[in-house]
Subunit: 422 residues, 2 copies
């Protein structure tokens, strides 16, 4: 529908005045509400407070003293846990550090410096390399490719994942397209999960670059909001079946399961790829924090226990997601100026406003004390070609603050649209 279809000009002018009045009232309250980052709230953090109660004895199940040097790729029991959770074999997994982002950065840095498994030519020696960036997407992904001077090609996100026809056409013909970013489950920020067809086509497609690499950021695989859950095919299995076993690296962490910044992260891929990475990583470090792996594994126990733990997270944040939806629905539906998703998991709600109005909406919100993720952040270099997408991160603020913030945001969405139209 058209924006404000069926309203007369006079009605819109009067509506605008009404909104300006409400907006000014909010401004006077000197609010400071931050919804810019996908951080768990305090109640979620409390769920993990007991984790450090069972540190001693410091021995892993096979008797390794976790207080000393040794073991590059992670404790056995930690690999078993992640292999259960993510459906990979234990020899296809590497446990490393506290940050999956850092592991992704490192993969690209190693591809750039040394080349990937089986390929002698590092990406730094190839002119004009490119990455596919499904958008809206995750700003920190795009910052990494930008830092390495990799050109970024925007691929639209559909309801079942990235536009596969566009991807297949591009990668078949261009040897300099070396890889793509993907958040396959409850994607940041769209909440979309890739369909089986999309996963299979990514695994099977013909790529001109033999070292084409999919960075499969499975950040929200465990983060369901409801009993009715999305599920995705195992890309690692599909790549094996398609004869492209080395095409994909999967990443994940416990950042939003236990404690962000103090969790454990992993990388999974073909055994060949993991063996190659281990050789390179053995030059970089003697090993990662095994005590943290030990306490995590004791606390999380097994896949079933993790599922129960994640249900507690969901119980805390589900009302926040629903409040955002309810308020947006109440204030913005039927006006033709905004659309948003209603995700079944993940950490974000993606809001599309009237074209050309995202920046202004975020600016208006900021002036009224509501900090949102910058408009454009969900696109490479922070430039949304339609200036349309806004990422809402509802988990961190208390519910009452969140509701106020979304009331204000709704006003700003409509005000920005009216400013444009009138």
């Amino acid at each position: 529908m058209q924006a404000f279809e069926g309203f007369t000009n006079a009605e819109l002018v009067s509506r605008k005045q009404e909104l300006v009045n409400r907006y000014e009232d909010y401004k006077k309250r000197n609010l400071k509400l931050d919804m810019s980052r996908g951080k768990p709230c305090t109640e979620q953090l409390e769920l993990t407070n007991d984790m450090y109660d069972n540190v001693s004895p410091f021995l892993s199940e096979d008797g390794t003293d976790c207080r000393n040097y040794g073991i590059l790729d992670g404790l056995k029991e930690t690999k078993v846990l992640f292999s259960e959770l993510f459906g990979v074999n234990t020899d296809e997994i590497f446990i490393g550090g506290n940050s999956s982002l850092n592991l992704m950065y490192d993969l690209i840095a190693k591809a750039y410096n040394h080349g990937l498994n089986g390929f002698e030519k590092p990406w730094s020696k190839v002119e004009g390399i490119k990455f596919l960036c499904p958008c809206p997407g995750y700003d920190r992904h795009f910052s990494i490719t930008e830092l390495f001077g990799i050109s970024m090609i925007i691929v639209p996100m559909n309801n079942d994942g990235p536009d596969m026809e566009m991807i297949e056409e591009l990668v078949k013909n261009d040897e300099t397209i070396k890889g793509m970013w993907a958040i396959p489950m409850y994607s940041n920020p769209t909440g979309i999960s890739f369909s089986d067809d999309v996963v299979r086509r990514l695994a099977r497609m013909e790529t001109k670059a033999k070292d084409f690499t999919i960075i499969w950021d499975n950040a929200y695989a465990l983060h369901h909001l409801y009993d009715e859950q999305d599920s995705i095919l195992s890309i690692i299995d599909e790549c094996k079946k398609a004869g492209n076993p080395d095409r994909v690296y999967m990443f994940g962490s416990t950042s939003k399961v236990t404690f962000p910044g103090s969790g454990i992260a992993f990388m999974a891929s073909s055994k060949n790829n993991i063996d190659y990475m281990k050789k390179l990583i053995s030059i970089q470090t003697i090993g990662f924090d095994k005590i943290n792996m030990l306490i995590h594994t004791r606390f999380l126990k097994n896949a079933d226990n993790v599922k129960e733990h994640m249900k507690k997270h969901a119980a805390i944040i589900r009302p926040k997601f629903e409040a955002v939806n309810d308020i947006l629905e109440k204030n913005l539906s039927g006006k033709g100026i905004a659309s948003w998703n209603k995700p079944k998991g993940g950490y974000f709600i993606s809001l599309d406003v009237l074209d050309g109005c995202a920046k202004r909406t975020v600016e208006l919100s900021k002036e009224a004390g509501v900090t949102l993720t910058s408009a454009g952040a969900t696109f490479p270099k922070g430039i949304d070609p339609n200036d349309r997408n806004i990422r809402i991160a509802p988990t961190y603020p208390p519910l009452s603050e969140l509701k106020t913030a979304i009331e204000i945001l709704s006003i700003c969405v409509e005000l920005a649209a009216l400013e444009k139209i009138l």
Copy 2:
């Protein structure tokens, strides 16, 4: 003196037979003694067992909830602790991860990919770059430079540090020499600490490469064995005074203070350098493990407390260093076939055997069940041009095992020498 000066050939033949007999006796015992790596022993690890007893509350001194995202460069109180211990300002320090080796790797990777602070030309775009490697040195340093294809120039270690005349001459004239490795205090493996004169000359020297970088691996700064201690000048201060504030990056960690692999590591440099690195690291990760910083800082408290803690380490490992010296002295002194240092700190004893005999000595030891660091490991690419140096790591084995291992090693040193001479 000459090897076996004053002995007749017949005496040496008979001595050799005696040693072979003793060697064969040891072999029959099927020993398995590992002295290859500088690992703390179990008694040392016990000193830190209490560290996890005070995790809750998870708040840093300024009220930051360490369970959530936030803070790229480390907790304030952790920076204060390290700034006390290493004589730098808190804005000259970055706390990151569990491994100083990883931070050093990362510095070189960033110089290689993006260039250093103020220099637009990354090292990857310069042909034939080189690093100075004081030798004997640390194998893992050399592996990093080798991985990045950086040529390594061996610089001899004297009793007061690396040969400064050679270094000054080289760096003044060669723009492709981009940096050097240094372990300035109780060096690995020589145990030498750099003299004030050496530190000042490194800070002041004229370098053709404007981005010449000293990697100051201060791994053993806190690791004294005796009350009478070495001390070194602050290279960061000296570089400031000399007008070369951006020349040096210092590294260290608590790996051999608390728990190897589960400690915290830091990097220190000029504020400008640290600010630049922070910008790059902000692309790589959201932040490092703050809970680990919190418990470390609560456990270690302050510089005085760390000193007391390190005295407990010294009390455990000092008898091991002395046992090695005593046994080598008893078996090898006066024969002209071996020399070794008697360090006042650090983790290693450096043993020089007769030229051309190090590999054979290590091989003989191995066959008798004593695993040493590979001969050559203390030189780039594992090639000791004189095949002379052996690194002894006395801390890990129990004292009785260590004594047996050094008895065997002594036999092997002498046997290898006799094999060569006879």
